[in-house]
């Protein structure tokens, strides 16, 4: 199964890739929502893990576009907050269609479990 990881922070993106590879998935990486959408068009992912605050195209817009074009796609939103904190962004992400949300920093095992649950039981 293929996971698309979208985050503008290099270290966080690498970590997400490592966690997902460790959990046994194929991983694609993108630095922002726009690049993520392009990669998904070329090679559709089964699940998308996206950050919310990013340049070019932010996470909320990405979630909206993905869910509109691919209603069955599973999405996990993660955020470390920004001007108003993650608690303001993550509920909005859920309203727009994110299946699960995580606040940075998160437990990698919990994230891996969430991915497994969404892909295999969701």
């Amino acid at each position: 199964m293929r996971i698309l990881v979208i985050d503008d922070d290099d270290q966080m993106r690498t970590l997400l890739r490592q966690v997902m590879e460790w959990a046994g998935y194929e991983v694609m990486e993108a630095e922002n929502g726009r690049e993520g959408m392009q990669k998904h068009l070329k090679q559709p992912a089964d699940l998308v893990i996206t950050d919310l605050i990013m340049p070019e195209q932010e996470g909320l817009e990405t979630i909206t576009s993905l869910k509109k074009a691919y209603p069955a796609i599973k999405i996990i939103a993660i955020s470390g907050g920004g001007r108003i904190g993650p608690e303001a962004y993550l509920p909005a992400a859920q309203e727009l269609g994110a299946d699960k949300v995580f606040t940075k920093p998160f437990d990698v095992h919990e994230l891996a479990e969430a991915v497994r649950e969404l892909l295999h039981h969701g």
Binding site: P55, G80, F106, H109, A112
Partner: protein
């Protein structure tokens, strides 16, 4: 002559005398009256002059050609004479600076040489005041015979300005807070995430015999990759903390030789997290940017303030902010174009937005204090005035140009200092040794970690988690200690106090390294006085510590450099 005749003669003589005197008095009266009136007028004028001289609220001194006081008004006496005694005959420098020789920055000689008034802001530590001093030469027959010096006390004004700048900086910190939290959460995410991965995957964790939760077991290459990621994240956090501290430090305002490019890049990264993502931030930095002499915190303040203003000018928070850094040599054309710009080499910071622009009327007042186009409560209107002040103290020039409906460009010129030195290439080899090091820190985890690190470099390490335990090592006469490394903030005794005690009473001359997280809490002078040889700001990098230890310890034969095996 009988008695009667004698009386008549005497009477006539007396009367003659009286009338003569009266006559002369009568004749002279108008002349005496004129003289007396003149004296009175003169006296009155003198009294009036003295009165006016004394009611001038600023100190005024009249000096002779050798800078000695010939007159001083009441305000001058109040400022310069603690016991109210006369200032006359005293030398100017003895009154203002308490010295026997003229002040190094004295401009009386300039006023004398150029024969024109001079004005200068002087902070006199002796008086504890900042004065705006004017000096006017006094001439007689084309020769300077003295000076009139006025000194306006602007200490209060300068203090208020400092407070205002600090308050303004705190406003910027509040703006930054969201960005900082976002960055820290990413950093913490990387540290905790990589640590979790290691803990889940290292076989030794599964003592119950169970296999790792997912995937294959950890390889050495993966282990190193995770450790590097943790270290990298730690370094990011360290840099972020030092930047926040540099930005928020109240009174340092210390200018230093500064590589402005990395600082601008880092500030833009913070801005990226702070501003709405609908705003496109473009950063363009020339390959070669030389150093400037500047206060890093204030440079960040300039970038933050101008970019925040730019963001607010964008309609619906959509548009572009371009931040660019280049260097240039300016000539007469630029001098004409940018008011106050002298020909020379400059590093140029430009902040350009695609916002609604600023009208010509507003542009003319944009740097005025308290001038704002925002609603009440939306800002003090001091932002650009404060920035203008900062840039001026950096001998820089700020210019603004704008087109309504198209956007605004702020251009700032900072004088470039000598060409940037090449960054010293540091290799990964860590120098080691076999001396004995006493390591003191009240945090047990730090003691454990440092002991392991130093032991790895070949040193014999004595560990102490309290200052008292450290002192016990010195009580053993046969205990050889070559160096003490101590934390500063510890219960019951600070690192400085410990160093003072060791260097004065127990082991005079022992090399001591002090580590502290708050550099402002300890001054280098104070630390040196207490026997500290070297100061290291926490968190201390392994490379830095290894090099500092080797630099401070006397060179020994046979000490080989060791590699922190990877």
């Amino acid at each position: 002559m009988n008695a009667l005749t004698l009386w008549i003669v005497c009477s006539v003589l007396a009367l003659y005398t009286i009338f003569s005197v009266a006559y002369y008095l009568f004749r002279l009266r108008p002349r005496l009256q004129v003289h007396s009136e003149g004296c009175e007028t003169l006296q009155k004028a003198l009294d009036e002059w003295q009165c006016i001289f004394d009611v001038i609220v600023d100190p005024v001194l009249v000096l002779d050609s050798e800078s000695r006081v010939t007159r001083g008004n009441r305000a001058a006496v109040q400022l310069l004479s603690s016991d109210g005694s006369s200032l006359e005959g005293k030398a100017c420098h003895s009154l203002f600076a308490g010295t026997d020789t003229p002040c190094p920055f004295c401009f009386i000689s300039s006023a004398c040489a150029e024969n024109k008034p001079h004005c200068q802001e002087i902070t006199h530590d002796y008086l504890g005041r900042t004065l705006m001093v004017n000096c006017f030469p006094l001439q007689e027959e084309e020769k300077i015979v003295g000076f009139v010096v006025t000194a306006k006390d602007i200490s209060h004004q300068r203090n208020l300005e400092k407070q205002l700048m600090h308050a303004h900086k705190m406003e910027s910190i509040a703006t930054l807070a969201g960005g900082i939290a976002h960055d820290f959460n990413n950093i913490l995410g990387a540290i905790l995430g990589n640590t979790d991965l290691l803990l889940y995957r290292i076989p030794v964790q599964n003592k119950d015999g169970s296999s790792p939760l997912f995937g294959p077991p950890l390889t050495t290459a993966e282990l190193i990759e995770h450790l590097h990621a943790i270290k990298q994240a730690g370094n990011r956090a360290k840099d972020l903390v030092s930047q926040i501290l540099a930005f928020s430090r109240q009174s340092s305002h210390k200018r230093q030789d500064l590589s402005i490019a990395p600082l601008v890049k880092e500030t833009c990264r913070l801005l990226r997290s702070t501003l709405p993502t609908t705003i496109d931030i473009k950063v363009s930095i020339s390959d070669r940017i030389d150093m400037i002499h500047a206060d890093p915190g204030q440079i960040q303040q300039i970038v933050m303030q101008l970019c925040t203003n730019a963001a607010q000018s964008l309609e619906n928070q959509c548009g572009t902010i371009e931040i660019s850094l280049r260097q240039t040599e300016t000539g007469k054309a630029e001098q004409h174009r940018y008011h106050g710009l002298k020909p020379g080499f400059y590093v140029v910071l430009t902040i350009k937005d695609t916002g609604k622009g600023i009208s010509q009327e507003t542009l003319e007042r944009i740097f005025d204090p308290f001038f704002t186009t925002r609603e009440v409560g939306e800002g003090s209107g001091m932002g650009l005035a404060v920035l203008h002040g900062i840039i001026t103290t950096h001998e820089g020039v700020i210019d603004v140009s704008s087109t309504l409906g198209k956007g605004t460009v702020f251009t700032i010129f900072f004088p470039r200092i000598a060409e940037t030195k090449e960054v010293e290439q540091q290799n990964d080899i860590l120098p080691g040794g076999d001396e004995t090091i006493l390591f003191v820190d009240d945090e047990e985890e730090i003691v454990k970690m440092r002991t392991r690190m130093l032991a790895h470099l070949g040193y014999r390490v004595l560990a102490a988690d309290t200052p008292e335990r450290a002192l016990q090592y010195f009580e053993k006469e046969d205990e050889q200690i070559d160096l003490m490394i101590t934390d500063h903030t510890m219960p019951r005794m600070t690192g400085i106090q410990l160093a003072d005690r060791v260097s004065r009473l127990l082991r005079p001359g022992l090399p001591i390294i002090l580590c502290s997280g708050y550099s402002e809490a300890v001054t280098m002078e104070e630390a040196k006085r207490c026997g500290v040889h070297r100061f290291l700001a926490k968190p201390v990098d392994m490379q830095l510590l290894a090099r500092a230890v080797r630099e401070i310890l006397p060179k020994k034969r046979g000490v080989e450099d060791e590699n922190l095996g990877d």
